[in-house]
Point group: C2
Chain length 350, copies 2
């Protein structure tokens, strides 16, 4: 009886493994194309052309997945979104938190039929890459024209992805590196030297980065300010112009910069202005009244989408002495873009 | 560089096709086991052991998937949930609405690792079956001991699934059938006669069902009352005891029963009491003040989970002349149970 009830069966979706995905994302133009696509995506977001569902979260108290492990904090998030008028919608399932390793996959569905086309078993790699891409995009728009030294705060996976992606937007190959754990800093230094970086200098006092570097990327999950305890170093900088991209610490209560350092910036940019009031680097500075209430048209704070369209605010003058900060908390459109780009590239290979 | 970053890759999830799924759900005990598992699931729900995320909906205005089709109304829902302390969590993706056919798939993930185990490409069949199971469960708990005639309102897919499932809870093989479209009614009658039903009588006046039948199932998507326009027929019933399971019309504004018929019932049961105030059969009767404000302990309205535990309210007396109504609007735990049962059965087959 069941046979007469359904006219059309679901075609079998294609499953792409991490190996296949890595081949595609390691091709020469992928990083550049991704940065460009994400730039266009943020403009579309600003114009109201992207829709993201409220995130579904599972595994949190009072419904933890596992109850017999001390300190258990794993959870799963379901993030769904799409651009109006494009071919696909994307659902990302991401899991992580003690004691399970971060993992994830992305699913591609047809907007026209609703049916699943593919699963990208990227194991979280596409999330790392799209996060790296937005950091590099911010450096491209706001980094000084001459970058002699890049500062890196943090020694984790995202630090590696950020630096790898940064190679596509700057020719600078000098890094000043700070991390909490000596051993991890040394491992990363050795890796980077093998990976084409010319100079990797380990920094003991994190605020030395503010003196020496033209661009700084922060990638930790700190709950307290790391950078900017001593603001006097800012007046001893060697060159004018400083940009900081804050990639880590995107939850409420987490931060990597001192609110007083944030208050010193000439221009603050957030991937989502509304999120930046509640989470990430700007939250404390707001609460302490150190930066003005948001007014996207004229204030020192604006969204990444608006920055992209405001070409007059991009850094294009070697003498531009501005101090700029970009804060990323991550938005669904980045997932949607990286998934669609990867799927298209995988399809082309066939 | 990427290789050193990830210790452990996602194993390839298993994809099960509709053919494989249908073999499993057509095995002799599947329907009985499913009804039993859903009965236990509703008790667990009542005890707070099931968690469902708010539903994600995509494709609705002002973000339709497709803008160039007149009357376009397709959408996709993402429904996620899990039982505390069980092995898996389940995500269902269901699409439907003009002009695309209903479709869907279910995904099984490990609660312990967060990783995807399997995709059931059931194309919506598992949703049909779990809906049929809850209708049969209600008939089992509330149907008269002697069922001589089953009334069916509607001639669609769910009507077929309901009747197929009902065979496992009653030996009655006589159906009185009502539908709006003569042609469809006749097709269904012929199908049912081939399918083991002994008598299928086509009814022209729907309210005759109230006079002739011991159990009635409604499966339409009506926006206006169909059954119970003439309540005088109730006093001409041949046998005491009547149960109606209302399966269709579960959206706000939709209904299949007259609110005055609802008001005549001795006992009203809803899969979710809070939903039943806003959608389905009881909403109008509430609004018109025909049935009392909810009080689950003593009132005439209670949840299915509570009914299951209140054995004193189950129908077990051939002389029980009560008139009972069950209204289903569908809850995520049914998806979770049918997906986990099907996955377990598919695994055992290997």
């Amino acid at each position: 009886m069941e046979d007469v009830m359904k006219e059309e069966k679901q075609e079998i979706p294609t499953i792409y493994t991490l190996d296949e995905i890595q081949k595609v994302i390691n091709t020469p133009n992928f990083a550049t194309d991704l940065i460009h696509a994400i730039q266009e995506g943020f403009v579309a977001l600003e114009r109201g052309e992207f829709f993201a569902c409220p995130i579904q979260t599972m595994g949190l108290p009072p419904f933890p997945f596992v109850e017999d492990i001390e300190g258990y904090a794993a959870q799963t998030c379901v993030k769904s979104g799409y651009f109006r008028g494009q071919d696909y919608y994307v659902i990302k399932i991401a899991s992580g938190g003690y004691p399970i390793p971060n993992s994830g996959l992305m699913q591609i569905y047809s907007q026209r039929t609703g049916k699943m086309k593919a699963i990208l078993l990227d194991d979280g790699v596409l999330t790392e890459i799209r996060t790296a891409a937005v950091g590099s995009l911010a450096c491209q728009l706001l980094g000084p024209s001459i970058i002699e030294t890049i500062g890196m705060v943090g020694t984790g996976i995202q630090a590696r992805y950020q630096l790898n992606m940064l190679k596509t937007v700057t020719e600078c190959r000098t890094i000043h590196l700070w991390g909490r754990t000596t051993n991890k800093v040394e491992i990363l230094r050795d890796e980077l030297l093998k990976d084409g970086w010319e100079t990797v200098h380990i920094v003991n006092d994190i605020d030395d980065l503010l003196k020496e570097c033209d661009v700084i990327i922060t990638t930790t999950c700190s709950r307290e300010p790391l950078l900017g305890k001593d603001l006097t170093v800012l007046s001893h900088r060697k060159r004018p112009g400083l940009h900081i991209s804050c990639i880590g610490s995107d939850a409420p209560g987490k931060m990597e910069l001192s609110p007083h350092l944030v208050a010193k910036a000439d221009l603050l940019v957030a991937d989502t202005v509304s999120q930046s009031v509640e989470r990430g680097e700007f939250q404390s500075a707001y609460r302490e009244g150190l930066i003005p209430v948001v007014d996207s048209n004229s204030s020192t704070l604006l969204s990444l989408g608006r920055l992209i369209e405001r070409k007059d605010l991009h850094r294009n003058d070697t003498e531009d002495g501005r101090f700029t900060i970009f804060d990323s908390s991550g938005v669904a459109l980045q997932d949607c873009i990286v998934a669609q780009m990867t799927y298209a590239a995988l399809n082309q290979q066939l």
